[in-house]
């Protein structure tokens, strides 16, 4: 068989497979999007589907979202601020620790690094209840501090930064020392600027987690004015099913900020992942 024809067949079938996959993956999003124009009650009666029944579709849900009596936007901005705080805090602290592991040889390093690997693989849920008791005895319930603080030195983020920084030659740090920079100065002036791709990758992953975080905030947060978007949306799921209008249209909008974050950082994402996670 002619080589170029074969190539074209392969290329064509690849595009076909990936288009199919893309359609399949996009389908639920599309279904959600259509549903946001349907009356909430219809969703319960008919389930979600692809039907476009124009007679029953309208913008009421969107009008409700933007002018109705509800706390959606409060949750929305709570989530945004919580995500920003979490991402910034985690990136700063974890990169700091990751640098410590990558740039120095010190006593106990091996042990501590095994600890990082260990914790990386333990689900939070294991300690969730005792941790809850502890936080509560510190009178830190119902605060964002309690949500963020335990996870600032985030094992998998530390691991990632350490992997990333291993590729930076130590001679760079030596040069910094000769120039008279302190150990911390080297980190902030020389190293941090080199970490942009790594920060991007981790901003996306940590941002995703923070934006969608559910179980821990559910335990910690008590007052409804502090609810995040996921907690708030979940309160709309009640036994009577009379909140689907807001739930569905609110869901549509909940995807948008995190998608923007992804699009903004996507260029660095692969680059960062490449340099970080792959070297095992």
């Amino acid at each position: 068989m002619n080589r170029s024809i074969k190539n074209r067949v392969v290329t064509g079938s690849f595009y076909f497979i990936f288009t199919l996959l893309a359609v399949g993956i996009f389908l639920p999003i599309w279904v959600l999007f259509i549903a946001s124009f349907k009356p909430g009650g219809d969703l319960l009666q008919y389930g979600l589907n692809l039907d476009l029944n124009c007679a029953r579709m309208n913008l009421d849900n969107y009008i409700l979202l933007f002018s109705g009596q509800h706390e959606y936007w409060k949750w929305f901005f709570n989530s945004i601020s919580l995500t920003v705080i979490t991402v910034l805090g985690t990136l700063i602290i974890s990169s700091f620790v990751g640098y410590g592991f990558a740039a120095y040889d010190f006593k106990g390093k091996k042990f501590l690094f095994i600890l990082v690997l260990l914790i990386l693989s333990i689900p939070l849920e294991v300690v969730m209840l005792p941790l809850y008791k502890q936080i509560s005895s510190w009178k830190m319930m119902d605060s964002y501090t309690a949500i963020v603080l335990p996870f600032l030195a985030h094992a998998s983020t530390i691991f990632f930064f350490r992997q990333y920084l291993l590729s930076i030659p130590r001679s760079l740090m030596e040069a910094g020392r000769i120039d008279g920079a302190t150990e911390y100065g080297i980190f902030y002036r020389l190293i941090v600027p080199l970490m942009k791709p790594a920060f991007s990758a981790m901003a996306i992953l940590n941002g995703m987690n923070a934006w969608n975080n559910y179980l821990w905030p559910l335990l910690v947060i008590r007052s409804s004015e502090k609810y995040t978007l996921t907690l708030g949306l979940n309160t709309l799921i009640n036994p009577y099913g009379d909140n689907y209008s807001l739930l569905i249209v609110g869901s549509v909008f909940s995807v948008i900020p995190i998608f923007l974050l992804f699009v903004a950082f996507q260029k660095y994402f692969i680059e960062g992942m490449m340099a970080g996670a792959v070297k095992g």
Binding site: P39, Q45, C54, E71, S136, R222, G241, V263
Partner: protein, 456 residues
């Protein structure tokens, strides 16, 4: 990059076209209206100094308005003891979980909290964090249905203020039944109920009533009528009892006729079930009285079609209890609260006084626990009342028939009840009615599971 922008633009364009195309053919929008978020926080406006702030947790938003209205009345009558309610509404599971965590850690609990009947016994275990209410109940006691105080009590101490009786009644779709040649008033016993079902199914091809899998309203009723219970006199688990086996076998027999079937959502009071009734797929519900409010809000198309009647019994001339109370919310006061005393007094007024019980009917559509209200015709036959407008007969006529024979299950006050209920409504009933397993075997297995849980 360009491609991505193009993609986004295409999406946006699609959205606009879709939206524009449809809004031009916009039809009715009445049903799209939502009550909005249910995680609302509400705060009363109270003037004057020396006002006590009381934090209240609820899990049904409607209760908030009711409490605020009644608290305003209280303030009018007691200028020296004014209160300001700050209400937080949370989803059912969430609220109970938060309460248990708060009581556990001794921090963050409200002053007043609505606790659902099924969850109540869980708060009666170990050190009880709720306040004893016998004293504040006393002034109202004579007119209150005693069994409804009993379900929120332990060792003679009462910890919860009931909201309603929840008398189990039968909701018959009179119109559909009549079209099939059935008069609901002829149905007195379960056998007649079953027969009517078969006749209805033969005539219409639709289901008569549902077989419950995620709740046990009808099952509890049938069990209580037989004198059975989920726990025996000594408080031991008794799930594989003769009575419960008989009840479930009987319901299985109903299911086998084809006239009775499981419903989406597993019980009539469920978001997925309302449409099934609203469209006439099912015609009859055996439910506590408060289902009235669900009819009015969520099954709007059945207006002027549904009659409320007494429930069938096993044997007409027996001394069996005619009906039982089902579901309910006990308002409790947290013992450690700073203003617990005052909160108890105010809430007793809000939940038990005649004034408030009139509103329980007017606003919420429940059967009030203060039976002094039941005979007041200006209330029970008020033509402006939305509930009276909805049903084909006067609801209280039915209530008065069984007023003196409202039973209860011993299990309601047993601390094992939340777990029993959980097992029943997730495992037992599903195994029998969805998977078609043998009643006896399933009950033995459930008994076993629960026994293990309470192994000491």
């Amino acid at each position: 990059m360009k491609r991505r922008v193009m993609g986004a633009l295409a999406c946006a364009a699609m959205a606009v076209i879709l939206a524009a195309g449809c809004s031009s053919t916009k039809s009715s929008s009445g049903d799209a209206g939502s009550k909005g978020a249910s995680a609302g926080k509400k705060s009363m406006e109270v003037t004057g100094n020396d006002v006590t702030t009381i934090n209240v947790w609820t899990f049904i938003e409607l209760h908030q308005d009711f409490y605020v209205n009644m608290a305003e009345k209280w303030n009018e009558g007691h200028p020296d003891k004014k209160v300001k309610l700050v209400l937080s509404n949370m989803p059912y599971d969430d609220m109970h979980n938060k309460l248990s965590l708060a009581l556990e850690s001794g921090e963050g609990a409200p002053d007043v909290v609505d606790i659902e009947l099924g969850k109540f016994p869980a708060f009666m275990a170990g050190n009880i964090g709720l306040m004893e209410l016998n004293d504040v109940i006393d002034p109202y006691r004579n007119n209150i249905v005693q069994s409804r105080l009993g379900i929120y009590s332990k060792d003679g101490k009462e910890y919860g203020l009931p909201t309603h009786v929840g008398t189990t009644v039968a909701f018959y779709n009179e119109k559909l039944l009549k079209d099939a040649g059935i008069n609901y008033q002829d149905i007195k016993t379960w056998d007649q109920f079953k027969e009517a079902g078969v006749k209805y199914h033969d005539a219409t091809g639709k289901y008569f009533s549902c077989v419950e899998t995620s709740a046990s309203w009808m099952i509890n009723l049938m069990l209580a009528q037989k004198g059975g219970d989920y726990v025996d006199k000594d408080g031991n688990l008794n799930l594989n009892s003769k009575e419960l086996t008989e009840v479930l076998e009987y319901i299985k027999g109903m299911q086998e006729t084809g006239a009775f079937a499981t419903v989406p959502g597993g019980q009539p009071d469920n978001e997925e079930a309302y449409p099934s009734y609203n469209t006439g797929e099912y015609a009859v519900q055996i439910m506590p009285f408060w289902q009235t409010s669900r009819f009015v809000s969520y099954m709007k198309d059945l207006k002027k079609q549904v009659a409320i009647s007494t429930v069938p019994v096993w044997n007409e001339n027996d001394k069996e209890v005619a009906t039982i109370g089902g579901g309910g919310t006990g308002t409790a006061i947290v013992k450690s609260g700073k203003n617990a005393e005052l909160a108890a007094e105010v809430m007793a007024y809000i939940k038990l006084s005649e004034d408030s019980n009139r509103e329980v009917w007017n606003v919420l559509g429940f059967d009030p626990v203060n039976t002094a209200v039941w005979t007041d015709k200006s209330l029970t036959q008020n033509p402006d009342n939305q509930f009276i407008q909805y049903f084909t007969n006067y609801p209280f006529d039915t209530l008065l028939k069984t007023k003196d024979s409202i039973g209860l299950l011993r299990a309601y006050t047993d601390e094992k009840y939340p777990s029993i209920n959980n097992e029943l409504c997730n495992v037992t009933l599903n195994s029998i009615f969805e998977d078609g397993k043998d009643v006896k075997e399933v009950l033995d297995s459930s008994q076993e599971t629960l026994k293990n849980e309470f192994k000491k």
